[in-house]
Amino acid sequence: MNIHEYQAKKLLHFFGVKVTRGSKASSPEEARLKAKEIGSENWVVKAQVHAGGRGKAGGIKFAKSLDEVFEKSEKMLGMTLKTHQTVGAGKIVRKLYIQEAIDIEREYYLGIVLDRRHEMPVIMASTAGCMDIETVAAETPEKIIKVGVDPITGLKGYHLRKLGYGLKLTNAEMKEFNKIMIPLFEAYQKTDASLIEINPLVLKPDGEFIALDAKLNFDDNALFRHPEIAAMRDEAEEDAAELEAGKYGLSYVKLDGNVGCIVNGAGLAMSTMDIIKLEGGEPANFLDVGGNASAETVARGFELILRDKNVKAILVNIFGGIVRCDRIANGILEAKRQIDVQVPVIVRLDGTNAVEAGEILKQANIRQILIAADLQDGAKKAVQSAEGVSA
């Protein structure tokens, strides 16, 4: 789960990380009011969307007066922000963060993320602040200092020294740096974060470090023990169909093709997308109805997929293990009765009670339902059907 910068800063501040003073605003009037409260002479108006690269896309603006805060906020609210991290048309700006402008001596990058290879958190720091870290990693990997923190030791002095010397900080600067690093690491662990990024971390002329930006992602599996973080979820930032799928216990990702697919199991669902592509088509989605697929979940799957008007055919691919295929076949027929399914449905059922399932579908004798012999046949028929409809 992602949260906004204003939420991330509040949370980090709670752990003792020094962050810039600022407030959330949802209207130009509110923005002006908040700016006045902050009491600086210069401000920064920042779009609050779940995507990086806001600056280049026009989502971060400086303001030298309260009127300018108002004016810039008015322009930014409601605009669609398209950055290198957004998909499709971009993201609509619904909230702003009004922040004091600060003097900058130097800028750094600081991040904490799970290192899957070494199975521990890794702190990444770089003097290439404000730059896209992926670019730095690709072009000048030597500029990134990586320090893995074994959960057995926790964050110790030597980790901090490695970071400090790596960043070529003076002894005095190191002391200040640790004041940010220690609570930041504590926040990472105690909130079950999966990623923290401070880009940039700023060294001010007075020698103090401060987080100018903050990005936090959390382990979805751990949200049950952090209700206060779960409450920060901004559903407007998420894909509506994906969100709804989650509520039904389905896992759905929309893609750009025209062949929809309903599959049980994540690996098989990805493979089904792959084979659609190999047969010359384009998958319209990833949809895993779960290992315990039922008639009900299959019907919900149809509903979700058919909302995408690009879909010209649907491939149902179920390998019944514990799930009985005859139940799925009845579920498909039930879904057909409940929902207006206008596109061809290609059904491939294998595993437990597959023969009975085939009989059920054959007897129902619905012209739009095509039975596939195996995975390859199913993909082929689905791609052909989709082409037939669109031609």
Binding site: R116, R117, R225, A266, G267, L268, M270, D274, G321
Partner: protein, 294 residues
Amino acid sequence: MSILVHKESRVVVQGFTGKEGTFHAQKCIDYGTNIVAGVTPGKGGQCHLGKPVYNTVEEAVLSTKANVSMIFVPPAYAADAILEAADAGIELIVCITEGIPVQDIMYAKKYIKSKGSVLIGPNCPGIITAGEAKIGIMPGFVFKPGRIGVISKSGTLTYEAANQVVLAGMGISTAVGIGGDPIIGTDFIDLLKLFEADDATDGIVMIGEIGGELEIRAAEYIKEHVTKPVAAFIAGQTAPKGKRMGHAGAIIAGSKGTAQEKITALQEAGEKVAMSPARIGSTIAELMKKSNSQ
């Protein structure tokens, strides 16, 4: 032989009396798995599915000499269950539970290693030695006995692959679902090592997916240490970047962990990769034919 589990494995089920635990434990018993006990705190002394129930794993081990555990405990308590099993001296812990916080597994894995226990999963279908023992949620009938070992990150795709192996005229020695989480107890390399040494296994099917780099390290390992034929398949060639594809670990982070990167690594190591999920069975069949004729 076979790897990890066999007829003599003595299995204790943690989360025995719950809905999932009951349903799947019964299926395992029907398959012939030697389930000797169950554990549900607060229900010690009862009898469930004809097996004794204990409050703790330690009691179950002392009374029944259980050496394998199968875990169906809900995600919030699953890491606790893993630690308890390791502490009680269980050698092989199979954790089916999906949705465990990654930090919990990170700590648990370090601890069980110090105890010498092996963890399969979490978020996996389990492990089956065809015709001997099924410790997990897979449909037993698909896995006809034979001499092909299967290692997979996925559940239903494993059944699909096993089915294809059987349709191609072969069978399964042991199949292991290693799970789709970012941190898992046992990875491809651990199992490749076991299959290479197993005299009941002649060839190996390896099924990976996007996310992480376990497959890339497995490719390096195969090149150096595995002499038996290996057929691989990597799911997610069409997966978009930055989106979690069902499994918590199945995500392309930045430009890392793509299917193409893994396929290339395997091919460069000289392995045969099935490009289509419908060709997993035929790919291993061709390799076996070639190796038999040599």
